[in-house]
């Protein structure tokens, strides 16, 4: 009994030691000393890149082992954790559009793509998108994967019933301003009472903010969220609520609302098409796309970045450049609804074809011109955190019937506090 127990313990200790040694060896083999490694790790999220393009990249760079991992869950948190040490950090990583600004203060943790040759490629890509990943002293940390040019998605059949124009060109012409858009909404809701113009007013606010060149914080790191441009966007957003053409949907009932025609239009980026198709496959052929009222706006769109610990910067940049060439971006549009960041891709057949879900409409005619005209706005690192207060208060108006004026004051005071916490003046 005693002997067997001792033996058991000895075996256990031995096993533990072996496991530890193996783990240590594993760690040793993975870490690469020089900057010319042929083993590169690529991190992205499901749908962040075209899986087919990634698979082809592995074949195309034959001398290289490209280990691509699709990271699930909260990507940004996992990236922050992964970047703690050189061994765990990826060599190429995706960063989402809404997160890129918050990484700019730590630009020294990433390679400057301009020094790797991006400065020569820059004219081929949308300049306002490159600006989002550029620090104030001119370092570029992200290669743009895609953008989210915004448009009005509308139900042609419901517009027809409401006596509104149905042709995308005519709709774009009639809904040229927010006020005209809301007027159409009033008419639509009167003729088709079960249908509302929009799902929630936060969507309008986010579009209206994106149409301007200034956001919540300016280049001098000063809070400007209480100024006229934000106030105007707020007033625009509250209007459909007061007019009673807001469906006030702030949860996943959106799916059912889209399928049942409770919402007759949707404000969204190019990838919004995929959301509608998933939520309501039965509405195929009934949707159309028109220009956003009062000018183009952008929502989302990601980047590929090279962390400073990258094991082979030149090779990594070549891979990124190849994966995001205009041709491969066009494939990304077909495979994963990634709207290209290179205008050259807009001429390619993958984009110029008609879309059956939109009754054969060539949606590039709406998105293409919009993409090139999106205003370049300065997005401060704390911008996303500060903006949350406004969206929450807009939701409070819809959920609790909170007085819009009180909600505005609360939003500004909360936003100011968050800004202060994030080190904004």
């Amino acid at each position: 009994m005693d002997l067997s127990r001792r033996r058991f313990l000895e075996a256990a200790v031995l096993a533990a030691a072996t496991a530890g040694a193996t783990a240590a060896c594993g760690g040793g083999a993975e870490s690469t000393g020089g900057k010319d490694s042929k083993n590169l790790k690529l991190w992205y999220w499901a749908g962040g890149l075209s899986d087919k393009v990634v698979a082809d990249a592995k074949k195309h760079f034959s001398g290289t082992t490209l280990k691509a991992s699709v990271i699930g869950g909260d990507f940004k948190t996992k990236l922050l954790t992964g970047m703690k040490t050189a061994q765990t950090a990826p060599d190429i990583t995706g960063i989402k559009g809404e997160d890129i600004a918050s990484f700019l203060p730590n630009a020294n943790r990433f390679l400057d793509l301009n020094s790797l040759g991006m400065d020569k490629l820059a004219p081929d890509y949308l300049s306002w998108k490159l600006k989002q990943a550029t620090t104030q002293d001119g370092k570029l940390i992200g290669f743009p994967i895609d953008i989210g040019p915004c448009a009005v998605y509308y139900r042609e059949d419901i517009f027809d019933k409401a006596g509104l124009p149905t042709d995308p060109v005519k709709v774009s012409a009639q809904l040229s301003t927010w006020d005209a858009y809301f007027d159409a909404g009033v008419q639509l809701h009167r003729k088709v009472p079960k249908s509302f113009l929009i799902n929630n007013i936060g969507a309008v606010f986010s579009m209206a903010i994106g149409q301007g060149t200034r956001r919540f914080i300016d280049e001098d790191n000063t809070f400007i969220g209480d100024q006229d441009h934000i106030r105007q966007a707020w007033t625009t957003a509250v209007k459909p609520y007061t007019l009673g053409i807001d469906a006030k949907i702030n949860d996943n009932t959106w799916n059912a609302a889209v399928a049942k025609g409770t919402v007759a239009t949707g404000l969204g980026a190019a990838w919004y098409a995929l959301d509608i198709q998933n939520a309501a496959p039965g509405t195929k052929g009934k949707w159309r796309v028109a220009s956003l009222p009062s000018g183009p706006s952008n929502l989302g769109g990601s980047f590929l970045c090279l962390p400073a610990t990258c094991a082979n910067p030149e090779l990594a940049f070549d891979i990124v450049k190849w994966m995001l060439s205009p041709e491969n971006q066009a494939r990304g549009f077909t495979d994963a609804a990634l709207f290209p960041t290179s205008p050259a891709a807009y001429e390619l057949p993958a984009l110029t074809g008609g879309d059956a879900f939109f009754g054969g409409q060539k949606t590039i005619e709406i998105f293409g011109p919009a993409a090139e005209k999106i205003p370049a706005a300065y997005e401060a690192p704390a911008d996303a955190a500060v903006s949350v207060a406004y969206f929450n208060e807009l939701t409070s108006i819809e959920a609790k019937g909170k007085d819009p004026e009180t909600a505005w004051k609360d939003a500004v005071s909360q936003a100011k506090q968050v800004a202060q916490r994030q080190g904004v003046k």
């Binding site: 127990r5 313990l9 909260d74 940004k76 948190t77 922050l80 970047m83 703690k84 989402k96 559009g97 809404e98 918050s102 990484f103 203060p105 730590n106 943790r109 936060g202 986010s206 006030k248 702030n250 949860d251 996943n252 009932t253 059912a256 609302a257 409770t262 929502l299 989302g300 996303a384 955190a385 903006s387 949350v388 969206f391 929450n392 939701t395 409070s396 819809e398 959920a399 609790k400 909170k402 609360d410 909360q414 506090q417 968050v418 202060q420 916490r421 994030q422 080190g423």
Partner: protein, 355 residues
Amino acid sequence: MSSSPVAGPAPTGPSSGAMTGPSGQPAPDRRRGPGRTGRRFRPVSAGGRNGPQRGARRGIARYWPQYLAVTPYYLIFSVFMLFPMLYTVYLAFQRWDGIGEIQFVGLQQFRFLWDDPVFWLSIRNTLVIWVLSTVPMLFMALVMAVLVNSTRRFTGFYRVALFIPSITSLVAIAIFFAAVFSNDFGLINAVLKALHLSAVPWMSNEWTIKLVIAALMTWQWTGYNAIIYLAGLQAIPSELYEAARMDGAGPVRIFFSITIPLLRPIILFTVVISTVTGLQSFTEPQVMFGSDASTNPNSGGPGRAGLTTLLYFYNQAFDNNDFGYAAAIVWSFFLLILILVIVNWRLVQHKERRP
């Protein structure tokens, strides 16, 4: 932190130990339960007989296999629990975005916290949800335990059925509840409409949001507490019930005069446990009110009515990457839980000392 509620019945330990006879039989005074505490303290006294003056060093040498056996747990505990916990103490006095420089800011984070209306809103939400879930949960658990205790058939089935909710995936339940209570397309509103009643906006009104979260927690944990009560009920000797019945007491009188007083230590144990776990509601609102919206993640639903303190902590740490502020939130919240547990604790001791 979780060790304090487990030690719940312990204060009765030393005194009941003295009353426990050498044979390990429970003392005649049964108010303190069926002598479990007595048995628990025996190994300690056995060690004492070998002479406490020999020192702790020899004890470690003597019991090294046992210490070795528990070491893996403590190693994992210190790496994955203790160190992060101590690190958050440090972080609460810093400003840190996760990868940049850590910057010392003193008590500034706590000053922000004091002035932050959203933090106080989250505390209020948490307390309301806790009361709305814990009170009906413990009451129904007790009733169910008494009912199951009095049945003779299918007892195994009932016990399994009671336990199943607590081992069901919380995320799955949360998605299910969100679908059932959905405003426009949910099952409950469909039933209400079929009965020609007006639909309730469950998922957008600030009170019904809390009610739905509380209902979920109640559904999940009632059976678990009932099982604990059931164990307590079965430890109550049947002679007491027979004697009461001989004296002419009815079922209600028996419940209040025998079952409740004898079950008190167990009730208090469940109250402490429910305080600690019920205040930590996080997954329920996180799953119910979506976290994937890029403009507004983890906000706790319309009007932030479902924003519990832990969800706010998560939001600040992992959406805003304001780790210093998040650490300040979570430690202030720890203090609040501690105070509530101490209040419960005092209530326990006070009642227990009464003759």
